[in-house]
Subunit: 174 residues, 2 copies
DNA sequence: ACCTGAACACCGTTCAAGT
DNA sequence: ACCTGAACACCGTTCAAGT
């Protein structure tokens, strides 16, 4: 007779996200997820082809989370960058996975949407994509180097970020 | 009686770099390195405390490599960025490790030196550090998103890079 | 001094057998 | 239908025993 699955997909993903926040991506093992969800590791293969698919699902949830955050950030490019960075500070491990786990294109479309809109408003449709790529490259790189400890040798990092935001502004406004 | 070690530190690191280029960081196992160097895995622990230390050594070699490249790139910020990106394209896996493996501060000092000099020349000592961080954040983020496949949804990536370089220029020149 | 086999704990993954 | 124990291949790491 049909048996309902003991752990829903959403439950598994949530468990995964909690583990990531606590022990990083390397702590996200099939066994750890299974245990937290009250099941044995092999059962997870009913929902995910392999660990990589689970990583993608967890990262996908992070991207959706971030999207919501950015949506409610308004139309200002600088403000979007600040919200992006503060999200990264809030969930450093999840943030890392965004650039570590290779995601399908569709998952990346949504979170860039707000920035794309902001850029289109300021520069017109034509330059929007290039401008958005410029901005997103800078902010992503900044946070990543910050996390990598590359900004440890002097100067205030928050000041450097605001400096960058100003430069971004004058870089984008012709 | 004293026995000379069968695999030098340099040989091990070189073996590691070759493996990385072929199979990525995840392929850089103690066993794979040991085999390529003609020794058993436990022997490697004579030279490295653990796998992480080996990863750092390999990444350190990459950073030195990159430094040499950048040194011979001249004093132009845009040119430095181009050289940086082309190095990343040449050794994508090694490049990934630069932001994945957590490195000691000292290892990061050398490769930024040329950019720092270029920025000091253009903006003076005072703004050099902030300007360098702005530039390095952008170019690092750009290449990383390029590798992550974030730039797959339209537009030419090379064009976007040159666009970014122009924006970087007008962003940095007040 | 350096190297090794054997062992341990821990992975991901498969699959036949259970309900 | 879903779940599981057992098994396999593969890790990192330790250590006593070999030369």
């Amino acid at each position: 007779m049909p048996t309902p699955s003991r752990a829903s997909l959403a439950q598994i993903i949530d468990a995964g996200r909690e583990i990531v926040e606590g022990s990083g991506a390397s702590g996200l093992t099939m066994q750890a997820v299974a245990e937290r969800v009250g099941v044995r590791a092999p059962s997870l293969y009913k929902k995910f082809a392999d660990r990589d698919e689970l990583l993608r699902a967890v990262t996908g949830a992070t991207l959706e989370d971030l999207s919501v955050r950015l949506e409610s950030a308004g139309d200002d490019i600088a403000e979007l960058a600040r919200v992006y960075r503060s999200y990264a500070h809030e969930r450093p491990e999840a943030f890392r996975m965004m650039s570590t786990v290779s995601m399908p294109v569709d998952a990346l479309r949504q979170p860039v949407e707000p920035l794309l809109r902001a850029c289109a408003r300021v520069f017109g449709e034509e330059d929007a994509l290039n401008a958005a790529r410029f901005a997103v490259s800078w902010v992503t790189g900044f946070v990543q180097m910050e996390f990598a400890g590359a900004f440890r040798l002097g100067g205030d990092v928050d000041v450097a970020f605001e400096y960058g935001l100003r430069r971004l502004g004058s870089g984008l406004h012709p």
